[in-house]
């Protein structure tokens, strides 16, 4: 009698559908949770670094100064986004378990997938917001520095009596190439895409692991290997380079890790290369594929996890 009642109740329980509104609520709650962890203090540190890098090293020529400013700040952005992505994702699930928030949420009609997606979007919103603010600060400083350096360089040419139209045009071209362009924003977009992939991998690891430290360490290992995945892949695709065992190991490693070097366009942007739309599309598509598959695997693991 009791079994029959249970199965009939289960049969009558309506299936909870995916709800974007619920995911959004979860995401906003995650953002609030992360802000309370004082993660955004890094932003202040970054702004100070950008201002410092922008006005230091005045002994170097204008081109070097602008290039240095871009290299230092874009490097800091990469570190910021990856560290925040890995650490915050690794902290979220264990913290929810510890605070028992997870039980409260999942005891309500909230599918586990909505919970996972909400958490991921929350972390990505925080990283994206931070990157937008830092991009704006960097653009402002770069624009100011560019104008100042151009005036200084022209003044110097005038003093040396070498201010021919051709020379001034060349200085203008050099400063404009190293100064503020749309390519800088594409570099920030590539940094965001890389952080997205790393964060999704960290979420997958977090759903498997039982400790925060394990998630952080393995996520950083995957990040480092991911930057060399192209080398491993080429090793696998090059015949006669090693025996079967070596190739099998290379295949396994390349299959598990995403290729993060595909998002490394920062160096080219610092060198003044123009980012074509095809490159942006390629990077965005591959990041979307990584993210979708990783999230699906995370869902499969998390759906069965005993909490």
């Amino acid at each position: 009698m009791s079994d029959a009642t249970t199965s009939s109740a289960a049969a009558k329980t309506p299936k909870v559908r995916f709800s974007p509104q619920r995911v959004w609520t979860m995401a906003m709650a995650t953002v609030t949770q992360l802000i309370r962890m004082k993660i955004l203090a890094f932003l202040v540190l970054f702004c100070l670094l950008a201002v410092g890098a922008g006005f230091a090293f005045s002994v170097i020529n204008p081109e070097q100064q602008l290039s240095l400013l871009k290299s230092v700040t874009l490097g800091a952005l990469q570190i910021f986004s990856i560290v925040i992505g890995v650490v915050s994702t690794a902290l979220l699930l264990p913290k929810d378990l510890e605070d028992r928030t997870l039980y409260t949420i999942l005891s309500k009609p909230v599918p586990r997938f909505d919970y996972l997606l909400g958490k991921l979007i929350g972390v990505l919103m925080l990283i994206g917001g931070g990157l937008i603010v830092m991009d704006a600060v960097l653009s402002l400083i770069l624009w100011m520095r560019q104008s100042l350096l151009f005036d200084e360089a022209v003044e110097h040419l005038r003093m040396e009596k070498m201010d021919s139209t051709e020379a001034v045009t060349q200085v203008r071209e050099i400063v404009a190439k190293q100064g503020l362009t749309w390519n800088l924003h594409w570099a920030v977009w590539a940094i965001f895409l890389k952080a997205t992939v790393v964060t999704t991998v960290a979420l997958l690891l977090s759903s498997i692991a039982s400790s925060t430290l394990f998630t952080i360490v393995i996520a950083f290992c995957v990040t480092i290997i991911g930057h060399g995945e192209a080398l491993i892949r080429e090793f696998f695709f090059t015949p006669n380079l090693s025996g079967m065992t070596g190739r099998a190991a290379a295949l396994l490693l390349a299959a598990i890790c995403p290729d993060l070097a595909q998002f490394d366009i920062v160096d080219s942007v610092v060198n003044g290369e123009i980012v074509p739309w095809a490159a942006v599309l390629n990077m965005t598509s591959i990041a979307a594929i990584y993210m979708t598959v990783c999230l699906f695997i995370t869902h499969l693991v998390f759906a069965e996890k005993e909490l």
Partner: protein, 263 residues
């Protein structure tokens, strides 16, 4: 358990399927000049652990900047060996950035070479030897840079300047200025190529220089320097009087180029 096995199967299947896709995207991005080729690590090159980690970690640019600043500090201490080795790391990390090749060559061919040339504490023969060695090192750096960036007009121009002002290899200087002009260098590089050819000892180079200067002269782009070198080349090439330019500017007797210190 069932879901975990499914997850493993999806991970492996996706892993195998993604490899050709990644290969294709990487090739495309390299073709667009967005991604650099994997770093070349020569045997015995002193690329530190930090550099390797950075080259894999997508922070090559940042590491190159840090090494460049360290090189600048060593430059202020006139520690030329250290400057050279640090710039070697910088150019390995960022081989497609012409600025680094330019600076590395400038430090060696001008700063280090002059430092040794005017160093009164050294014996004259040693001063000359060190001067020539460092100028040669500057040329070697630019030539290596040009293997990565063969169409960079600035690197060609810098190479030409070293040949014209330091090694006095005017034929090589002319060729380098000419390459610079051919690859989009500023207009004066064409004239400078001809001036360098005019100062060489090679008959073929004189003809090349004459052709350039005559064309510029006929296009009404004559400057006082151009006329002077054109007159010089007319003399060298024994151009018939009827074909010479009408300007009767006296041909200045140019002093023979300085030989530089003895080895």
């Amino acid at each position: 358990m069932k879901h975990k096995l499914q997850a493993l199967a999806v991970l492996l299947l996706y892993g195998v399927v993604k490899l050709p896709l990644e290969q294709h995207v990487t090739r495309d991005l390299r073709a667009h000049g967005m991604l650099q080729e994997p770093i070349r690590l020569g045997v015995g090159e002193d690329l530190g652990q930090a550099g390797i980690a950075a080259s894999l970690g997508g922070l090559r640019g940042l590491a190159a900047c840090i090494f460049q600043l360290r090189a600048h500090v060593e430059f202020t201490y006139v520690n030329w060996a250290k400057v050279d080795s640090l710039y070697k790391l910088v150019t390995r990390l960022q081989p497609r950035n012409s600025r680094y090749w330019e600076e590395a060559a400038w430090h060696m061919a001008y700063n280090a070479a002059s430092y040794y040339l005017y160093n009164q504490e050294l014996k004259p023969a040693l001063r000359g030897q060190l001067y020539h060695d460092h100028v040669k090192r500057g040329v070697a750096i630019l030539e290596e840079g040009l293997r990565f960036l063969p169409r960079n007009p600035r690197l060609w121009e810098k190479l030409a300047e070293i040949h014209a002002k330091r090694t006095y290899q005017f034929k090589d200087a002319g060729d380098a200025y000419w390459h610079s002009f051919q690859n989009g260098g500023l207009n004066y590089t064409e004239r400078f190529a001809a001036y360098a050819y005019a100062q060489s000892n090679d008959h073929g180079s004189w003809q090349k220089g004459y052709a350039i200067l005559k064309r510029l002269y006929d296009a009404k782009n004559a400057t006082p320097g151009l006329i002077e070198f054109l007159k010089l080349l007319e003399e060298h090439l024994h151009i018939p009087a009827a074909q010479r330019i009408p300007e009767a500017a006296p041909v200045r007797q140019m002093p023979p180029p300085e030989e530089g210190p003895l080895r």
